[in-house]
């Protein structure tokens, strides 16, 4: 029996009810030469555009005597510098990492909040798929896609390693994970303090664990952000489904806060990793 899928889809589009489902992944909206453009990617581009426009506008507005936007941004920067100081322990280090960390904060914050705008997640097209009519929104929060959060986490952790190598040197960096140093010093110390026979293998093993913990960092960072934002969108959509008038408002406020908090947490964690990796070997 031959089934014409095209025809089948046409029939489906006119007959069955539209399914709106919150998928764990960002849906593909369009495809250019094999490159999938998902609704989350579109949203991220919007965020990038917003930042770029703001940057170009702000550049001309920077004056020695601050005014308006510059005043506000300077206050934010000063406040963040103080917060970062409490992590890095020195203003020089804070200054070195600040643009990077601040970019994380801004990028995630704008993406989080952009996902909350009305119309995002609710305007879309209906597509026939697997015998069902599927509603695919044009836009979806950029950070509600694991690709985005995973990319951010990888960038952050990778940067912490690059900074780490330049700060403590390749050999020291290598010994953080595969601790040959403690193995080499065993024969020298063995007669003075026999305890190294037990302690140093443990230290070596701890170094191996560090490798796993680096992978765990990426996983925890990406899934935390993705989970929070995705859950938030589902939550708002669910409350809207129960009663669209008024009921989602408190949850929207909650999501605004969650968006800001998650952006800050992500940035602060990256900063902590940077500080940890650039610090000299701890004892």
């Amino acid at each position: 029996m031959i089934v014409n899928i095209e025809q089948d889809a046409e029939v489906l589009l006119t007959q069955t009810a539209i399914v709106t489902e919150h998928t764990l992944y960002a849906e593909q909206v369009y495809k250019i030469g094999g490159f999938p453009i998902t609704n989350s990617l579109l949203n991220t581009w919007l965020a990038v555009l917003a930042v770029a426009v703001f940057g170009l506008y702000f550049r001309t507005k920077i004056k020695l005597i601050p005014r308006g936007v510059q005043n506000f941004l300077e206050a934010v920067v000063e406040a963040l510098l103080d917060v970062f100081d409490s992590v890095t322990g020195s203003r020089a280090k804070t200054f070195k990492f600040f643009p990077f960390i601040f970019s994380f904060f801004v990028f995630i914050l704008i993406n989080n909040w952009l996902g909350l705008l009305p119309g995002i997640g609710s305007i879309g097209q209906v597509v026939a798929e697997n015998g069902e009519k599927l509603f695919i929104p044009f836009f979806r929060g950029g950070t509600a896609d694991l690709n985005t959060t995973f990319a951010l986490a990888v960038i952050g952790v990778a940067a912490s390693h690059i900074f780490g190598i330049t700060a403590v040197g390749g050999w020291n960096y290598f010994n953080k994970f595969i601790n040959l140093k403690v193995l080499f010093e065993m024969p020298k110390k063995i007669f003075k303090e026999p305890a190294v026979l037990i302690v140093n293998p443990i230290k070596f093993f701890v170094g191996l664990l560090e490798i796993i913990s680096e992978l765990a960092k990426i996983a925890s960072l990406s899934f935390r952000l993705f989970g929070n934002i995705f859950a938030g969108e589902v939550l708002v959509a669910a409350t809207a489904a129960i009663l669209a008038y008024g009921l989602p408002i408190p949850f929207m406020f909650l999501e605004v806060m969650v968006g800001a908090i998650q952006a800050l947490i992500f940035a602060m964690l990256i900063l902590t990793y940077l500080t940890m990796m650039t610090a000299a070997e701890e004892h």
């Binding site: 990038v48 930042v51 941004l73 601040f102 690709n147 990319a151």
Partner: protein, 162 residues
């Protein structure tokens, strides 16, 4: 791992696209916002520090000037006092000199007057004597009724007067 990629639709192209997105955001923020902002903020801090420093310097200078002024004033006062004292002393000595001269002059005048008076007295006495002599001559002539010759007469008169 396979199911993870399938569940979340992980795609290296999307991953790369997001990396590029973040790179753009970082670049824009770094070149257009953070760098000029940090420069301006540092410049401002420098300017404020400099003006505070300048203000301190000005204050120091002012204090110095005031000290200088006070010192000069004190000196001027001292000198003024000296001058006053000197003037007073000079005035005193001049006064004494003038008094002395005045006394001298007065003394001279008195002496002159005294001499004048004595001269006048002598003259008067002389005149009185003369007139008395004439009167006596007249009287005697009248009493005697006639004139004694001049020679006798004069002798007589002289006797009488003496």
């Amino acid at each position: 791992m396979e199911s993870l990629i399938k569940t979340f639709h992980l795609d290296w192209r999307l991953f790369l696209a997001q990396v590029v997105n973040f790179a753009i955001v970082f670049g824009v923020l770094y070149w257009f916002a953070f760098k000029p902002l940090a420069k301006v903020m540092a410049e401002r801090s420098g300017k404020i520090a400099k003006s505070l420093d300048d203000a301190k310097k000005v204050e120091e200078k002012l204090a110095e000037t005031e000290k200088d002024y006070n010192r000069q004033m004190a000196e001027a006062k001292k000198q003024a006092n000296l001058i006053l004292e000197k003037a007073a002393r000079e005035a005193d000595s001049r006064k004494a000199g003038m008094v002395a001269r005045a006394k001298e002059e007065i003394g001279q005048i008195i002496n002159q007057e005294k001499e004048k008076m004595q001269a006048e007295k002598r003259e008067t006495l002389k005149e009185i004597k003369k007139e008395t002599a004439e009167l006596v001559i007249l009287t005697v002539e009248k009493i005697l009724g006639e004139k004694v010759d001049a020679k006798k007469d004069k002798e007589m008169i002289k006797k009488i007067i003496r």
